[in-house]
Amino acid sequence: MTDVAVRVDRLEKTLGRNEVLRGISFDARSGEIFGLLGPNGAGKTTTLRVICTLLAPDAGSVEVLGFDTRTAPQEVRRRVGVVTAEFGVYPRLSARENIAYFAELSGVGRARAGRTSGLDGELNKRVDGVIERLDIGSFARQRAETLSSGQKQKVAIARAIVHDPPVLMFDEPTSNLDVLASREIREFMVESKGRGKCVIFSTHVLHDAERLCDRVTIIHEGRVVASGPTAEVRGTHQDLEDSFLSLVEAAS
């Protein structure tokens, strides 16, 4: 699939006195893993926050599946799921309750009128579906405060995908996880790509990016320094890391 799911066009954003984004442009497509790479402070997280409507662009535009983030933010939010390294969960709710809460807020099952109590069939089905898909069943009834970091991250992923968004964004998702949990996240991204989702993967772990991403954009100090298929960006360098370092040094 080659449909453009996310289009970022000359995006600019200033936070306080810091000019974070200085005219970033790229397209991410359905059915691919798109890597957003750059050193810490390059503007990766700010870019993702603008895409998911948490921040408004100062200039330029962002479209998600044809919906402009300025004029149709709620439509954009319905179509986006975000997983970050900070996988905060509500500690006094169970894993299942955490997922169901976000499902309900995202409108899952809301079309069914006349419901009087409990979760309705559609909502239950959807929640059970993600619980099974992410292998959460064994701790679904446990309060989130008792879960391990890896289990909490699974809950965070589940709540991000429970409304079945066509665009998934992962912002440094493995930075607080151990090796096994990190691998599960990577496998999940590949699986999502296989389901035709547009997966945007923001990371500074270039080894992961090289293995997973179909295309990448490297940003540095708020500007795009390279963009294209992963192999093309790597070019003649031994690996993506070498390419990245030479690009960043050249841009500095």
Binding site: G16, L54, A56, S106, G107, R115, A160
Partner: protein, 378 residues
């Protein structure tokens, strides 16, 4: 279910599972009656207590009988002035020309003993004068040309009870409206940032106004429950506490239906207003602890208005004063409890003032909740 309803249900579920909130409410419900009981017993003991008067000289004939009847116990001492500092409650020197009295006004026992002594001496003087006039064939009633017969409309015990309630109940109601939901309010606002759940919540398509309304409703409900539970437990305790004997019948304090209705209505308004204020402060804070620091000055706001009623019982301001939040609630409750009367104008202004306060704070919270700085700061 609407987004506000979904958030309300989730917040309520979290509150019910939060030990901090439940313990705070439970303690308030249990502690208030206990404190009340202790205060009542201490004050009852003060009334029945015998105070010691250290004296030198000769007690005039007849005066000793009066002293024995009024709970003043006389002990001979070497130096009444020195003894009145520590050993006894009053020091008295009887001389042929009169009485020298020594007492320390900083000691409450000395103040009470002084009042008793002055009362006895007044009666003694009146009796002596009356006897002297009669001896000379003069009717003693000449000293009282315009006799007054007092017909109190309530017993002294009832008056004391209502005066006590008019201070204590508003104070408890306001304090519980604030503290009952404070932890929940900070948890629902600053806690979202601290737990790193805020971003995920704002990423849902739910309108932010609806999210905020759901949170406010949950916090308001728990504040209301806390306030009403504390007042109810206190009234149950008051019904068991004896406030003295009036016409041979033990007197207990109870609220009139009007006062009870006014209190519930004001508890509702106060709970919503405080919920709006505390959620706003929590939204400004980066974490729970910072939110608590921001909310600390609110405790003083609850104490000052109630203190006005305590120290200026007859404070009867114009209608303009009823626009001041919290003070207005205290004044309306005082009138309802003390006089069983509430002016419609005062109640209307008070209600409008508290509703506007709540609405302004809700607007402020909504503005904060929709600002990018909320995320950037976190």
């Amino acid at each position: 279910m609407s987004s506000a309803g979904i958030v309300f249900r989730k917040e309520l579920r979290e509150i019910i599972r939060d030990r901090r909130t439940l313990i705070a409410i439970g303690l308030a419900v249990l502690a208030s009656p206990v404190v009340l009981l202790v205060i009542s017993q201490v004050s009852t003991r003060s009334v029945a207590q015998t105070y010691t008067v250290g004296y030198t000289g000769e007690i005039p004939a007849g005066l000793d009988v009066l002293f024995n009847a009024t709970g003043l116990k006389f002990e001979r001492v070497d130096d009444p002035a020195e003894a009145a500092r520590k050993e006894v409650d009053l020091g008295v020197v009887f001389t042929p020309n009169g009485i020298d009295e020594y007492y320390d006004p900083t000691r409450q026992s000395a103040q009470i003993a002084d009042i008793r002594l002055q009362t006895i001496l007044g009666r003694y003087d009146a009796a002596r004068i009356a006897a002297a006039l009669q001896a000379k064939g003069v009717d003693p009633s000449i000293l009282n040309p315009l006799p007054v017969t007092v017909h109190p409309l309530s017993s002294p015990a009832e008056a004391a009870g209502n005066a006590f309630l008019s201070f204590f109940l508003p104070y408890i109601l306001i304090t519980m409206s604030l503290t009952g939901g404070l932890s929940a309010a900070l948890d629902a606002s600053a806690g979202e940032r601290e737990r790193k759940t805020l971003e995920s919540l704002l990423l849902t398509p739910a309108p932010r106004g609806a999210v905020l309304i759901g949170k406010l409703l949950a916090v308001s409900l728990i504040s209301l429950v806390a306030a009403v539970a504390a007042i109810a437990s206190m009234l149950v305790a008051l019904s068991q506490i004896d406030f003295g004997i009036s016409q041979g019948v033990k007197t207990h304090v109870a609220l009139s239906p009007l006062a009870a209705s006014v209190m519930v209505w004001l508890a509702l308004l106060l709970s919503v207003a405080f919920a709006s204020v505390t959620v706003t402060l929590g939204t400004l804070a980066r974490n729970f602890r910072q939110g608590q620091a921001y909310a600390t000055p609110l405790y003083f706001i609850t104490i000052f208005p109630a203190s006005i009623v305590l120290f200026i019982p007859d404070f009867n301001p114009g209608l303009a004063y009823y626009t001041i939040p919290i003070l207005n609630a205290v004044l309306v409750m005082r009138d309802a409890i003390l006089h069983n009367v509430v002016s419609a104008g005062a109640l209307a202004v008070t209600s409008a003032s508290l509703i506007v306060t709540g609405a302004l704070c809700f607007y402020a919270a909504l503005r904060l909740f929709t600002r990018e700085a909320l995320l950037v700061r976190s």
